[in-house]
Assembly symmetry: C2
Homo-oligomer: 399 residues x 2
Amino acid sequence: MLQVKYNMEVNVMKKIGILGSTGSIGTQALSIIRNNPEKYKVSALTCGNNIELLIKQIDEFKPCMVCVSSEKNALLLKNKYKNIEVYFGDDGMNEVAKVDNYDIFLTSVVGFAGLKPTYSAIKRGKTIALANKETLVAGGELIMTAAKQYGAKILPVDSEHSAIFQSLLGTEKRFLNKILLTASGGPFRNYTLEQLRNVTLEQTLKHPNWNMGRKITVDSASMMNKGLELIEARWLFDVSPSNIDVLVHPQSVLHSAVEFTDGAVIGQMGIPDMAVPIAFAFSYPDRLENIAKPIDFINKYNNLTFEKLDEDVFVNLKLARQSIEKGGSYPIVLNASNEILVNAFLNKKISFIQIQEGVEKILNNHNPIYQLDNVDSIIEIDCDIRRKTKEYIKEIMEI
Amino acid sequence: MLQVKYNMEVNVMKKIGILGSTGSIGTQALSIIRNNPEKYKVSALTCGNNIELLIKQIDEFKPCMVCVSSEKNALLLKNKYKNIEVYFGDDGMNEVAKVDNYDIFLTSVVGFAGLKPTYSAIKRGKTIALANKETLVAGGELIMTAAKQYGAKILPVDSEHSAIFQSLLGTEKRFLNKILLTASGGPFRNYTLEQLRNVTLEQTLKHPNWNMGRKITVDSASMMNKGLELIEARWLFDVSPSNIDVLVHPQSVLHSAVEFTDGAVIGQMGIPDMAVPIAFAFSYPDRLENIAKPIDFINKYNNLTFEKLDEDVFVNLKLARQSIEKGGSYPIVLNASNEILVNAFLNKKISFIQIQEGVEKILNNHNPIYQLDNVDSIIEIDCDIRRKTKEYIKEIMEI
């Protein structure tokens, strides 16, 4: 049998900085580090306001740097830990990213705040374990250009993108024909546009396969999550959006797949569990042991089904595809308007379908900007759209 | 995105020798060569008695060497083609393998006759596109040791083994946990032992997914084919038989998969078509274009199911597993006795279930030989078992 040859590297301890250590991805990442103490060490932890959990994490993992949202909490930590550098706020996160004391930077913070520190880490040529969607959705071109320039690796942590990455291992990208991005279909799978009009917040927050935050749960139900993933995939794998098919697969076992020029399809499968993509971003090209239970194809996952997604019902996917095809500032608009609209839906100010109607409206009214060569110009557009979307919501609430 | 680096090789024309050019695999291979004239050239063709088709192939592909079964046909070809070297018989096939005028040797001949020429090609350090089961089933240890010694690559052409090979690309073998060898289940899927007793030859020869020869069709129905594949997989991928699970998958879309240490499963999928594995053995690590139609997951293959295989009914699989676990001459006995028993079944001398009963009987009566360091000793055991199996069949027919 032909053996693929590898450069043998000395097994060195990898230092990991975690942006968003108290969230779902962050805590799972720490559990992987806990179970592999000979391979990984925590160098930095950042979180928002969950200071109690952060203190436990500091005591266990002994990072040399931490960052929290508020100055008050930062002062508290400074008094408690004399040997740890403590930062706060968005600027603090960016300072953590700029320091040269980590090998892998896990960006598991939610929202737009992830962009700036990720960009800083890329400029240091670090390996990014990317779990922050906004980084590529809003800053795709800037980020990928910088990654190339500074020799930074970007390894996806999303289960879909990790699956695509794993399926491409060992094959040159020029033989890639198509990406098959799978989607669970969410709670409103097969709904008509009429049915979608009447869904409630409670129905929306019931998601069958994954345990996630509320914002992503709404995005999963509205297919915006898949739209954002499509944009990410376009950047990560340098593929035209027209070569990315979304395939509804309710069991979420096939995490995604790729089709090659010869007609062969390679896909990565697993139980619905974020641990494998997180662990693989840490261990690549190696694999760790016993990260997730193996798939029980015979007793549990013995029936895998596939369906079409109706983009005339789940308009968000069409809007995402159009945004990335048009390029420039459109994906920033898609993401920012969606975030504000989802928040309004979570606060019961607008209905579920008004999310996608709103995103479409804001996109249609947008005058695109194509010169996006720094983080600040992206942030400026993002702020502007958030403001406009809030105005829009006020208007439709008055009607 | 991290790009896996490759050694860029100059795109040179590959010369291909085909053992068994008029069979199903051979003709599909020639069709791939026909469609890729800038990449491949035929250097040698061998066949049995289908001289009419061989003449067409010679006229189209202009090999420099051919080999046929009979001296009579060889003389006919010698008169017709003055510039082509013509050989005949098993020794002739071996001569073709020994000549240094090909890069890839496709061993698509059926049966035990494939072993000797394959061994000769390996000793020349050539790339083997292996489609002949008997080579590894009977000569696994000898062949793999020689391949290592002479630097020959063995690329699998079976769709299952090609799928495993493709799924392992880019990952070191030490991270492989398990092979998931899929099986269509054949026409008698879910049958009880009692039901299996009453199946007819006509029922057996109806196979749902693949169009194959009669011997392999019987082996597919009796699960001996899967047993032989399990033995091949053990050698090709250097995996303990206990780490090879057989998974019944009636749609034959997932051609096989591998489970890694972290719990991730990677599998190769495709429509039931031998063209992709043949083409990939030629093009590896590249991929050709438009070899097979892409999978239509939405309209055609939208329901993939998995089941357990009952090894107490399909005893052949258990016998194969035991044979390779015991090692030595046992797999030779398994294969040789099965071939004779299948032939008796095809000639309506014995019943379907008497195939597996016979294989078990012959295996139980065998005194194993563990010193198998040359092809001739393997051939000797094979001949001996064929003779003993014929005697056994005579005995049970007299009862």
